[in-house]
Amino acid sequence: MAVTTNDASAPEPAPREPEGVTETAPIHPVLEFWHYFSENKGSVAGLFIVLILIALAVFADVVAPHLPSEQYRDHLLQPPAWQEGGSWTFILGTDPVGRDLLSRLIYGTRESLFVGVIVVSISLTVGVSLGLVAGFFPGIIGTAILRLMDMILAFPSLLMALVLVAILGPSLTNAMIAIAIVLQPHFVRLTRAAVMAELSKDYVTASRVNGAGIFRMMYITVLPNCMAPLIVQATLSFSTAILDAAALGFLGMGAQPPTPEWGTMLSEARDFILRAWWVVTFPGLAILISVLAFNLMGDGLRDALDPKLKRS
């Protein structure tokens, strides 16, 4: 459900050349970008959290106190350290089969970031390519692509993903494929709109007159100038991907146990909702924090990359 709502907050498909650069030539574009990005403290915080998450994922083996699947059978459902009955060996407590919750959450970062990277890569590549084609050939091909995207968008994304996973078989890989499929129409539409806007500009006409090939036109001349909204959309899609993968996991259609995926952990913990609050609370919190971090970052990116909103 969250996927479609992204539409509303997605940047308007009206990319322009970064006017700021031409106006104040002495500042290097990267510095200029950072200047605007860092104006938004939330975005910096988001970036910071994202960096921590990446570090946790990379160094999980070092950071996590236990192995994610190691079962300590004498410590079933032990509460967090600060609560009565808890111990500092298992800081956030243990789950119903005695696995350390903190370690599972740390390893879970890998799964979630992995999901985000793969889903965004697939949907970005496919979506942008289709969008470019639709933009360059607005005739039958373009219309056909757009209609197909309309059809996909007519289904609620989570429902669509759920059915796709049911078809492919429940697993994290298939969940990623399903989410990528439901996310890519947004990239198609965005790219197409951007291309349409760019195509009428002088530099494109010039390039065309100079006899540039169609692929050169697509990927080298036009695409770089449409990047800003795509980057923002990619960041937001990253968070949607994490959220949807968790939702599928929660419904038992995502990563399969004992994979320490957060949504799957939540779904396994549901039975204990009244008895062991920690097994329900922490995985959800982990999802919320990561999704929030990426959304914060996305906001900052938009402010920095989209000059129209920047001025307002």
Binding site: Q71, R270, L274, R275, A276
Partner: protein
């Protein structure tokens, strides 16, 4: 502190709940799901039977409430011929069918209704056979169309069944849900009106309760049948509040929003035991949860490997973590509540070292295998994934690397039936309380071909004993045959027998005389409220 807060909240919740309308003796049962429909012969789910056959209908014979003993129902008595091929039933007189807004019975229950109920299911050319999908899975599943030759009306209150072969558990089969008796008069009337499917949508039975209202996924409402032949039920209204989530059911029970709930979360059992408003009734279920080795695939063709992997599993840990104590370690494929359960069987103890030695002896090292885990919750296995994870960890300790595999339920059943698994978790819940219903169905050679024998294990000495028991009428002799079969089973180890569930039924204190049904149904006739 938390506990106090919790108790306070319960008090508030209870007061809120009781602010509802007060009605004369209304019993609310928090059921676990929507019934598939209201004609029990069309469906196979226990949830459906709870909502249809138990409250609305009767059968010729019935299981006594809270036991597997068969007692007279709509038949007052019966007798069998010498050769065991003819059963004659004397029907009860003065039994009234329900009067609904579409139907007022003009006559009492009689032989025509019995014949209609069986012929609809058994005769393919019966005008009602194809109505509402026309699949009678339980009737077929119990081989009734092969067993029953004819059903004859001797007079209005006498019916004769002619069988094609002697079948000892026949009377017990007639007490099963699919054999519920429906009104032939109602059926005729609906057929005339051109709406035969109404018979299944708006049920008319002879049972203690009459269906009043059904809202899918929300509520089923019954009123007590004032003319019930066994006397009106002590409660006036019976309500099923459909509540799929087990922890939510418990919350509702605590809050007094319902009086009885099935299938509690094992995680909540401890809390229920210490809850002064709730009475936790317990009984061993008529079921077994097992892990079957595919004995057609190497290395499981070798019984030493099967024995070793038996020893490698810490069943106690499984009972604790998966059943949260609401289970008993199983040593036999039969549950202890069934007659002929062999007490003398000796189970494999937890012995990783012994397992390693035995594996080495069999020449197996670095074994890579898989464990199939069911995607659904069952009484005999409340959490197959968790169970698989525990077994996976146990086997890792003896050097066996297992991958956990799961499919969606239909796919799981199909593929395991086709023998694609190395090892598979599954289980069985008994239908009629007969050992044959476990051993023959799950471990016989016929079943190895048909697929319900997931171990694909066909062992001649074992199968011979079962065949012999099937032909034998004398219960004592059957008992000793089954006891011997269980010993062979244990030695050959086609399964790891894991657990029998302990069925827990939390009921509120004001509920009087609720009895846990060993066959798994939930029955409310005879239950009262304080």
């Amino acid at each position: 502190m938390r506990r106090q807060l919790w108790m306070a909240s319960v008090a508030i919740a209870a007061s809120v709940a009781f602010a509802g309308p007060l009605s004369a003796k209304t019993l609310v049962y928090c059921s676990e799901g929507s019934p598939e429909g209201f004609n029990p012969s069309l469906y196979t789910a226990g949830t459906t039977f709870d909502a249809s056959s138990h409250p609305i209908f009767n059968r010729l014979a019935e299981f006594e409430r809270g036991s597997t003993t068969v007692i007279p129902g709509l038949a007052e008595s019966w007798s069998a011929s010498e050769d065991g091929l003819e059963y004659t039933f004397k029907l009860r007189k003065g039994v009234k069918f329900h009067t609904t807004k579409d139907f007022a019975p003009s006559r009492d229950f009689n032989a025509d209704d019995v014949i209609f109920s069986f012929e609809r299911q058994g005769k393919k050319d019966h005008p009602f056979h194809k109505v509402s999908g026309g699949s009678y899975e339980y009737f077929e599943g119990m081989s009734m169309s092969e067993i029953i030759e004819t059903v004859e009306k001797v007079d209005d209150y006498t019916v004769k069944f002619v069988l094609s072969k002697p079948e000892a558990p026949f009377i017990a089969n007639l007490a099963m849900d699919f054999a519920s008796i429906m009104s032939a008069e109602y059926a005729d009337k609906m057929m005339e009106a051109g709406t035969p499917e109404q018979v299944d949508l708006a049920p008319v039975g002879t049972g203690p309760f009459q269906l009043q209202q059904y809202q899918k996924d929300a509520v089923i409402r019954y009123k007590a049948n004032a003319d019930y032949w066994g006397g009106k039920a002590p409660i006036d209204t019976l309500i099923f509040a459909i509540t799929p989530d087990a922890s939510v059911r418990y919350q509702k029970l605590k809050a007094g929003e319902c009086h009885v709930m099935p299938y509690p979360n094992p995680a909540d059992i401890e809390a229920m035991k210490s809850d002064s408003d709730v009475n936790l009734l317990e009984q061993e279920g008529l079921n077994v949860g097992y892990l079957a080795f595919n004995t057609e695939k190497a290395p499981y063709t070798d019984k030493r490997v099967r024995q070793a992997l038996n020893m490698a599993i810490d069943k106690k840990a499984i009972i604790d973590a998966v059943f949260q104590g609401a289970g008993k370690i199983a040593k036999n494929p039969l549950p202890p509540t069934i007659w002929s359960y062999n007490e003398a069987t000796k189970d494999y103890g937890y012995d990783p070292e012994g397992a390693k030695a035995l594996l080495a002896e069999a020449g197996v090292s670095g074994l890579k295998t898989n464990i199939w885990a069911m995607p659904v919750q069952r009484p005999y296995n409340p959490n197959a994934r968790r169970m698989a994870e525990l077994i996976q960890a146990d086997w890792a300790k003896v050097g066996v690397e297992a991958e956990i595999v799961t499919f969606e339920w239909g796919e799981y059943l199909k593929r395991s039936k086709a023998g694609e698994h190395d090892t598979v978790l599954l289980g069985w819940t008994g239908d009629n309380g007969d050992p044959d219903n476990f051993l023959y169905v799950l471990l016989g050679c016929d079943a190895a071909v048909g697929g319900t024998n997931r171990a694909r294990w066909c062992h001649k000495p074992f199968d011979d004993l079962l065949q012999k028991a099937k032909q034998t009428a004398d219960p004592a002799e059957r008992t000793s045959l089954y006891e011997e079969a269980q010993l062979i089973f244990k030695e050959e180890a086609p399964w790891v027998t894991i657990a029998h569930s302990v069925v827990s039924m939390p009921v509120r204190n004001e509920v009087v005389d609720y009895r846990v049904h060993p066959l798994g149904g939930h029955i409310f006739y005879g239950v009262d409220l304080k």
